[in-house]
Symmetry: C2
Subunit: 529 residues, 2 copies
């Protein structure tokens, strides 16, 4: 195939660049339409003869983080243009990613690709390394200041945003080769077995690093709690680890709790949550043995609280719930409302405690839960999932990464992957900051409307007309049901008109991958010009 | 490289065939000398679009095993010449391997390669499929009647015996490609998550199937206990599974206990066990935080019993013990003498119970414990391991597969892998059935003498002179210490002479792989001619 134009169109008519950072693009072809060929990526074969027989892989330079990581990167053979990965298990409390690039800059390397599982405001300090050329570009879900930097058009390469499952898929499929993975571990042994559920910096699980540990050329575990072998559970397996760096502190677990992991106090948003819980109850999804997932975000957390009450009223128990775990899911587990939390990311310290203490609080990973290029995954087996969105449109397409002004301010997380549940409900206020949330066409298409079953607002719920079964099942609900186009018109009137199309430049600054590695949309620079 | 001769010599001077089943051989080059190149094997990329969204992969034909497996093999596209794997988690109680080849024969396919993790006398019925051409040859540790069949020269292809770690290594490195893996699972869910630690046929763990689940083209789980999703623990992950066959009964767990998993009652052999335990105590290996592994076999199990008493006397606790688990290790765990059993294979039903009930009784796999082509493994971190052997020689080389008549009657198991421990002790009676067990040169070299630290007999212990540190440490022990050549001479005199070199034909019938994939020795046919 020869690329003859600079842009391509997805099956949904979105314009995407024909190449990203020199690599040819396959545009989105529809849900389940693109079939991958070929074989998975394969790391180099190693030999025990090249590793210490006693299992001791520790570097300890007075527990000084930057010094230790610098030594480890040096031994790993860090060179210009390599790809380094880090992970967001500490969310906004991560200390390792900043240290990694401080160390890399001290080694004088340039043009690195950073492949985080997500980045957070705590990593704003890395912007200087994007400016000075230490980091060429980022491929990873971006959040806050770094997203804003990218939107402004200042990043040297093009950002690539992937879902958690898409990140695993890209590594597994060989689309992204990680040269050096650096994993912050709240507890590890000298061999490299590591866990996140215990230790002074316990943050929960380390599942976002799984792909990296399996496929990266070189794997560095950084821990502030070195324990004798065996560190168990071994969420990361020492057989995949090259070096263990012992430091003072890897992260601030209190900061895994953030705005997106606290229950909303807004009356409007609580109403949305209550609408959704009632809907789930009334349409018969909430029946014995059902399953649900509530993503991060104040409304979805509140949904779980309402649903819990309804379950208790009706005497209904779930067969499993999927996390992001938090205190509300933990209460459900400990009160016997579900035997299992299948947890992909810990959202508060109660989740961390429960993972450590409860046998039914189970670690999962993007491989088990979300990888679209496996023999199935958990996401499609969940009865109902409640997620957020920055925007939706009248065709049920949804956006989770940009605001209506075009700026890239959020990551995808597991959002795209969760759309495959049996009933996907997007919880959105109809208006945010006097701007309507329902549009004729979303600014960025991150999820195709055919996978969105319900859009839930404080005014009522809009069921996707293609889900006739849900429309029928909902006939007896007390929740207001609305036509999405009518709701949009009403909201536009209230706000004094439709949302203006954002002013953007010509240059693509970021691409949005679909779960199968195709490109579903792209984002243009917003200036200032 | 051009193969110019039919045989090659290993670094130890052993003659091995230049090709095995058409594939060129790399002869053994010494411990840690052969360095692998290249990348690991990589399975095909799959898509969730091709698997049921609700996770239901079940075939149930009235729970009839052969019918269900036949249907699954047909759907898997079984063809002539393919490689099928099965596993020995039920040891002599396996029912699945026989059913697999009955089904394959019914489908009319020929020339299959069987890649079991081990075979047992219960699979004697497969000899007819070796005779009629359904199975071309076996690559896997062989035991009893099938070993004897191979020795007689009747198998069409050459057998290849590998250690448990070598089996993982061969699959990982792409030396053996498994087309279809069939995994007997005591409990599974419709998605294919499977565990061995529970269910009516609970057999312990399923670690021998890990490589197969990761690398085989097609993975079939066969279970007699189908539970709702999620089956947890998921020792085998449904994301790697294509089909789940629901049947009446997959195995007879009582039969995992066999002659090699019962404590000896022989006074001579109990004396060997006591000698070893005293040695481990007296040389200072048995100190707080130490670790040990005792393999299958009556003497080594008795060793664990003696050691337990010494540990209690001295108030010493281990940091971990490695299994094959059995009631004696479980007692140590439950009495607080060790916080962890790192278990690779369950040897009795107490081991199964403990694995299910005790958080410190941990599943391991040939990947974690034994794979030599990883970034280290557990085996080399163990302070002392006690193993058996069929023969040893004055250079401390050892044999574990053939008898002195040349017949192949045993598999390697984890034996080769365990030789990498910090102190390897081989427990052997000096005489078996009036035949000396210490030879000038072992019939088959399975383990090189440089890795064998002590040979323990009822008459006393022989320390490898290369381990000067052990010789020094042993100066105060009450255990008799002997020179191996003097011991050999003494035993030969008692038995009326040295062991006769076995009469063998010209044809190689089996090759013995070293842990790094090189060939360390080969076995010739023994007739009858």
């Amino acid at each position: 195939m020869t690329v003859t134009t600079d842009t391509l169109l997805t099956v949904a008519g979105r314009e995407v660049p024909a190449t990203i950072n020199g690599r040819e693009v396959i545009p989105f072809q529809g849900v389940g339409k693109y079939k991958p060929g070929g074989i998975k990526a394969a790391p180099a074969i190693r030999s025990c003869a090249d590793f210490p027989a006693d299992g001791n892989k520790v570097i300890d330079l007075d527990r000084e983080m930057v010094a230790g990581i610098k030594e480890a990167l040096y031994r790993a053979g860090l060179m210009d243009g390599m790809t380094i990965s880090t992970h967001h298990h500490f969310r906004n409390g991560d200390l390792v990613a900043n240290a990694v690039f401080e160390a890399a800059a001290a080694l004088g390397v340039k043009g690195l690709r950073w492949y985080p599982s997500a980045c957070f405001p705590c990593q704003e300090g890395l912007i200087k390394y994007l400016e000075d050329g230490t980091i060429h570009h980022i491929e990873g879900s971006m959040n806050g200041p770094i997203g804003a930097f990218c939107s402004s058009g200042k990043m040297k390469g093009m950002a690539v945003l992937r879902s958690h499952g898409g990140r695993y898929q890209a590594v597994q499929d060989g689309e992204v080769h990680i040269d050096i993975a650096v994993l912050a571990a709240p507890t590890a042994d000298p061999f490299g077995n590591a866990t996140g559920d215990r230790g002074p910096s316990a943050c929960g699980l380390l599942g976002f690093g799984l792909a990296d540990s399996e496929y990266a050329d070189h794997v560095i575990v950084v821990t502030d709690n070195l324990v004798p072998f065996p560190c168990y559970p071994w969420q990361i397996q020492g057989q995949n680890v090259d070096q263990v760096v012992h430091v003072d502190k890897v992260g601030i677990p209190e900061r895994i709790v953030s705005g997106t992991t606290r229950v909303t106090k807004s009356p409007d948003r609580l109403l949305i949550a209550e609408h959704i819980a009632k809907f789930v109850r009334d349409v018969g999804i909430m029946k014995p043995g059902f399953s649900f997932q509530a993503g991060a975000g104040g409304i979805t957390l509140a949904f779980a609280m309402f649903l819990k009450d309804f379950m208790k009223e009706a005497g209904v128990k779930a067969s499993f719930v999927r996390g992001g775990s938090n205190q509300y899911l933990v209460e459900m587990l400990e009160e016997g409302l579900t035997p299992y939390i299948l947890d992909g990311q810990t959202f508060d310290l109660e989740g961390v405690r429960s993972m450590r203490e409860n046998a039914g609080h189970i670690n999962t990973s993007p491989f088990t839960s979300y990888n679209y290029h496996g023999k199935g995954n958990f996401a499609s087996m969940v009865d109902v999932v409640v997620l957020g969105a920055t925007e939706v449109d009248v065709n049920f397409n949804a956006n989770v990464v940009t605001h209506s002004d075009g700026r890239l301010l959020h990551g995808i997380g597991g959002w795209q992957n969760c759309l495959f549940s049996k009933c996907t409900i997007l919880a959105v206020p109809s208006v945010r900051d006097r701007i309507p949330v329902i549009l004729d066409e979303v600014t960025t298409m991150v999820g195709p409307g055919e996978l969105v079953d319900v859009i839930a607002t404080e005014r009522g719920l809009c069921i996707n007309p293609s889900r006739k079964d849900l429309v029928d099942a909902a006939c007896g609900t007390e929740v207001p049901l609305l036509d999405i186009r009518e709701l949009k018109e009403h909201v536009d009137q209230l706000c004094g008109g439709t949302v203006a199309v954002p002013k953007v430049g010509d240059k693509f600054v970021a691409a949005i991958k679909w779960v199968d590695g195709t490109v579903i949309d792209a984002i243009k620079e917003t200036g200032p010009f």
